[in-house]
């Protein structure tokens, strides 16, 4: 009996000791930090925070590294050398928040770029607001600009630069259907296969009324869970219900390859046209063994790699390929590259205007709004503009959507290549229908 009691006491004392030491260390560190004098600024630090295990994340690091290399070769930002620091959010909100904190407080990042998962971004926005650091971000949720709209002073440091928000996909999808109609495909029934996730709700909010307007009937709307693979019965059902188009609205399901494979095997007279992250992937053709031929999709980020929208974009793709041996693996690369240059431009504008501290976050926000707005978009790898505060749809600081700005172009996999097929002015190929259709 006494043995057990003494062991318990021992454990308790040990634990209490840990607490005292930990609390003491914390207090001491805080005091020491407060006592340190701020150093004069001798470099600019850009932080990249994304899931590094996925190529959507690693491409941001690589693209930013290229941009920083170029910037440094031309003298840096306001004469100061630029350094990159990298954080890995591991697609986890807690990790993302901790890494953001580390990048800003320990690595002294002046600005951040990155992101991918909307859920992680939502959590990170809180820390970003607390630490008052500008974040030029990715992710597609309309929740993020809504936060800016709801509390501008707190969240104004957030800007979306990599792609348009998910709701705009609806506009692109409608244009895609219009394109099909003008090319002689009678579209009046569609069969929707969509992710079981909140992001699609934002798309459908805009898509459904527009479909009605255009007299397009949704014969069925199928929600699929992550990892779902039984597409054949769905394709057969779509055909039986008389749909001319199967419209995927997919990003997280992860099984776009199987959808393409099943569609190509069955060869039923139904088109496959919609949004699927899997189709965006440059390795899609190889992975599906060519089954994705004739797959029409809208391309996130405003760039179809075979038809770059600006000359800066074409050079970026060329230089990236030269440096890394292959073209950018995902559209997040354009966002990260543009983020570095846009930040540089904002800081330089601020300095030219005589601002006391051009690197101060509030100042940077002011100048980002000034130089990249609807009246004058900035042409980088794409034409960047941000919606102003007070936007009617609560898309404050979101990436502007439109032909003159950024939008998901309508693309198609044709004979091994990702081609841009609409709008006509930018197209580098004509739409091709599968031989078994009609």
């Amino acid at each position: 009996m006494s043995e057990k009691v003494s062991r318990r006491r021992y454990v308790k004392y040990a634990a209490a000791g840990v607490v005292v030491v930990a609390a003491g260390a914390a207090g001491g560190y805080v005091a020491w930090q407060a006592g340190k004098k701020p150093k004069a600024k001798n470099e600019v630090v850009i932080g990249v925070l994304a899931p590094m295990a996925t190529y959507q994340g690693s491409v941001q690091r690589d693209a930013a590294a290229l941009a920083i290399e170029e910037v440094n070769a031309k003298g840096g930002i306001l004469g100061l050398p630029v350094r990159m620091v990298v954080g890995d959010d591991k697609l986890d909100a807690d990790t993302g928040v901790a890494e953001l904190r580390r990048l800003v407080t320990v690595e002294h990042a002046d600005v951040l770029t990155g992101g991918y998962s909307s859920g992680v971004m939502t959590a990170e926005m809180e820390t970003m607001a607390e630490l008052k650091t500008v974040f030029l971000a990715d992710a597609s949720s309309t929740e993020h600009p809504a936060k800016v709209a709801g509390n501008y002073e707190k969240y104004k440091y957030w800007f979306r630069i990599t792609q348009n928000n998910g709701a705009t996909f609806a506009f692109d999808l409608i244009d895609m259907l219009d394109m099909l109609r003008t090319n002689g495909v009678q579209v009046n029934k569609v069969y929707i296969i969509r992710d079981e996730h909140v992001w699609v709700e934002a798309v459908e909010e805009f898509l459904n009324p527009m479909l009605k307007e255009k007299n397009v009937e949704v014969v069925k709307n199928v929600k699929i869970p992550r990892g779902y693979t039984e597409y054949e019965p769905l394709i057969i059902e779509a055909h039986n219900l008389g749909a001319q188009v199967i419209l995927p609205i997919l990003a997280i399901s992860g099984t776009g390859d199987v959808l393409a494979k099943h569609w190509a095997t069955l060869r039923l007279p139904v088109l496959l046209a919609g949004h699927d992250l899997a189709a965006l992937d440059l390795g899609f053709w190889e992975r599906t063994g060519g089954a994705c031929n004739y797959y029409i999709f809208i391309a996130d980020g405003g760039v179809v790699q075979t038809a770059p929208p600006t000359s800066t974009c074409a050079s970026f793709i060329e230089n990236y390929t030269k440096k890394y041996g292959h073209p950018p693996e995902a559209h997040q690369g354009y966002g990260a590259y543009d983020a570095v240059y846009l930040y540089k431009m904002a800081v330089e504008e601020a300095a030219k205007a005589g601002e006391r501290d051009p690197f101060d976050s509030d100042t940077v926000v002011k100048y980002l709004e000034k130089i990249a707005n609807l009246e004058n978009p900035v042409e980088l790898t794409r034409r960047i503009a941000f919606y102003p505060p007070g936007h009617e749809k609560k898309w404050d600081h979101d990436l502007a959507w439109g032909d003159e700005y950024v939008r998901n172009w309508v693309a198609e996999w044709i004979d091994g290549k990702q081609c841009l097929i609409w709008p006509k002015e930018r197209a580098n190929a004509e739409m091709k229908l599968p031989p078994w259709f009609k």
Binding site: T229, E230, P233, I236, D257, V258, T265, R267, L268, R287
Partner: protein
Amino acid sequence: MEMLELLMRILVYGATLSGIYSLIAAGFTLIFGVSRIMNFSHGAFFVLGAYLGIAIINGVGLNPYLSTAISILMVGLLAAIVYKGIMSPVRTQEVMVIIVTLAFALILEQLILLIFGEHGISYPSMVKGVISIGGVPIPSMRLFVLAIALTALILLWILIGKTRLGREITAASQDVEAATLLGLDVDKLFLTTVFISSILAALGGALYAQVYAANPFLVLKSLIFAFAIVILGGLGSVKGSVISSFIVGYILTAVIVLYGARWSELTALLIIIAILILKPTGLFGVKEL
């Protein structure tokens, strides 16, 4: 006509999934029935069959049939090594077996994630074309896969029922001590069982990647469905697990076709739990635990 078409769709499409799952379930229950080992790495071997096969096709350039054969043999060998290395030493502590094999499965899952990424991979089609049965278009590949799965099961049945090795395995599964007294090398029999079962699982994986796509998360997902099927069929009963594979496969397909994709897995799991409440030893419960 509508009903018939619907029924045909469920019947034929459900059969593929059932056939593939029966390969995993039969192997899992066989290992347990014979050696009391709960092999939580079984799902990993399933997935490896697919990944190794594709790696060989892409890396060495062999044709799909040969690559599959080589890959399942490699998986069998790996399983044998795993048995010798980590399953056998802790065989007497059943909790440890679960923990050790589960940890191994997760290592494999992480390795696959790191080397191949999280996107699925699929086999190049070995059989092309679509035929029509009862007005329902069916890719020939599905029938091919089903045929192979059934052939494998029949071979297994012949092995266990008609060969000397099969009889020895059955003897060891019924009474380990008596079998040892009779001079049977029980450890070797267990090893052989693990080898055979893992080959079956790997074959299942390769077939799965033909029709669908293999991804790292299947390591756990296929395992959990194997559990559900095996519990339903009764632990230790190969016949039971084959039959319940078809039951579960059909429930899944029927729900997808009739109600909606999102409900399929949840419904299947709930039905299994419900059946277990009514019949705690499964449909064909054989082993007393």
